[in-house]
């Protein structure tokens, strides 16, 4: 790799990420089209089944991360200016937060609705439709629609998005793919609910609705928590928000290997797609200066496309909150 001239608030992505970015944009557009058809199809059979209604609203909510991703993308690409010296990377986190809160609020609302229906023992009505002169129980159509529409998220776009997300270090994309992969729970639950009504177990519909809405609440909580963490400048985490970002170890290793360095510490925060790195260095010799600093920041910037906004600073003591090598 050639020595990178590192840039502050960098906006242009390297070739691999640019290619990787074209894919999810296509996938998101495909998903929006597919989901729109799903929503229309389910609307024709939704009837007064609470589980079908909940699944239907979940389909609508599943459009949120995709829209957020597509809306945030042009902002993220903007160059930093004097007014916005850190660039616009946070747009992705803001979108992530909006999507998370929306899921949480609607999910709670649906959960309460389902629980109240169960407590009041509301028996769901599923009658029949006249399909080309034949009377067909609407429940069969509900089951058929739910089986057909699960194909997309389960086998096509869900796995594809979850595959691309790590390359791009994009949490919105990961959350979206993750939710799509889990979408079959919803379809399976609503099928169980409808068939339960079919055999006369009216409460299975409400129970399925409750199960689905708790799934939405769970997604909402997880995403809100992850987005808030990033906005609150928590330590950078990997794309699935499960572990510390591997870059933390990498940066520490690089600094440690420099001959003029006595002690080091690092703070890394997640700006959405790229990382903001602040490295603290206690030099061995008192004459360490701009040349060493430049070499250190370029060595760090060289390791990953994500680390382009790197600040290395000399100090006589490492701040307590910075990650130190001995914690390795």
């Amino acid at each position: 790799m050639t020595t990178a001239k590192h840039q502050y608030g960098r906006t242009d992505l390297p070739a691999e990420q640019q290619t990787a970015l074209r894919q999810p944009v296509r996938w998101e557009l495909f998903t929006i089209g597919y989901t729109a058809v799903t929503i229309l199809l389910v609307a024709t059979v939704v009837g007064s089944s609470q589980s079908m209604k909940t699944a239907w609203i979940e389909d609508m909510l599943s459009l949120m991360p995709q829209l957020v991703f597509l809306i945030a993308l042009p902002f993220v690409r903007r160059r930093p200016t004097t007014r916005h010296p850190y660039g616009w990377h946070r747009a992705m986190s803001v979108g992530h937060l909006v999507a998370g809160v929306a899921l949480l609020a609607v999910g709670l609302n649906l959960a309460v609705e389902a629980a109240v229906g169960l407590i009041k023992a509301e028996h769901p009505t599923i009658g029949s439709v006249n399909l080309f002169g034949t009377t067909v129980w609407l429940g069969w159509l509900m089951v058929a629609v739910m089986v057909v529409v699960v194909i997309g998220p389960l086998f096509f776009y869900g796995p594809a998005k979850a595959r691309i997300a790590p390359t791009l270090h994009n949490k919105v994309l990961y959350a979206d793919g993750d939710m799509a992969k889990a979408d079959w729970h919803t379809n399976a639950a609503s099928i169980v609910g409808v068939l339960g009504v079919g055999v006369g177990l009216w409460w299975l519909d409400g129970a399925a609705a409750l199960f689905i809405s708790l799934g939405i609440v769970h997604d909402g909580f997880r995403n809100t928590k992850a987005a808030l963490g990033d906005l609150m400048d928590q330590r950078a985490l990997a794309y699935d928000s499960a572990e510390p970002h591997p870059a933390i170890d990498q940066v520490r290793g690089i600094l440690r290997a420099l001959p003029w360095v006595d002690d080091t510490g690092v703070r890394i925060r997640d700006m959405g797609q790229v990382l903001h790195v602040e490295a603290f260095v206690v030099p061995q010799a008192r004459d360490a200066g701009v040349v060493q600093i430049r070499e250190a920041s370029e060595a760090i910037a060289d390791t990953s496309w994500q680390m382009q906004d790197v600040v290395v600073t000399l100090c006589d003591e490492i701040p307590e909150e910075a990650v130190r090598p001995e914690r390795a």
């Binding site: 007064s48 009377t135 129980w137 699960v150 055999v199």
Partner: protein, 155 residues
């Protein structure tokens, strides 16, 4: 694991489809009780649809539809007259099985009773569609009535 889950659901669907004759079922078994026995019908007077000529049983196009339906499930009818609101309460309390009157398929009572698809009881096939009310969630009875209406070409 995901495939296995899908397979279980699919197997369940097929198993239920195999015994499809019993679906949908009534949680409270209204249809199976009425068939071959007694269908308790509540009616509210609506001129031109449900008329009550002084003494005796009601008459009118909607009444005829219910009579034909009752005959199709081999049931005798026990008539009760009341206002629409009382009929809905009777449905909720299980005092009657079916309510007729001036109900249309846009009836505001749909929160408290299950409503059949709309139908034209008489020869005139325009204006608001009539509907029959059954107890909430008695889907076998509901579907049975709708199947009868479809069969008579009234929908």
């Amino acid at each position: 694991m995901r495939r296995a889950g899908a397979a279980v659901v699919l197997a369940g669907v097929l198993a239920l489809a195999g015994c499809g004759a019993g679906i949908p079922a009534d949680p409270d078994g209204t249809l199976s009780r009425a068939a071959g026995g007694e269908l308790r019908v509540g009616y509210a007077v609506e001129p031109g649809l449900v008329d009550a000529p002084g003494e005796g049983d009601p008459s009118g196009p909607v009444v005829d539809v219910v009579r034909e339906y009752a005959a199709s499930i081999d049931a005798d009818i026990a008539w009760t007259a009341a206002s629409e609101e009382s009929l809905v309460t009777d449905l909720e309390e299980g005092a009657i099985d079916v309510a007729i009157g001036g109900f249309t398929d846009q009836t505001p009572w749909s929160d408290r009773a299950s409503v059949t698809r709309g139908f034209f009881p008489g020869a005139e096939r325009s204006g608001p569609k009539s509907a029959i009310l059954v107890p909430l969630g008695e889907n076998a009875l509901l579907t049975s009535i709708e199947t009868h209406l479809d069969g008579e070409g009234l929908t």
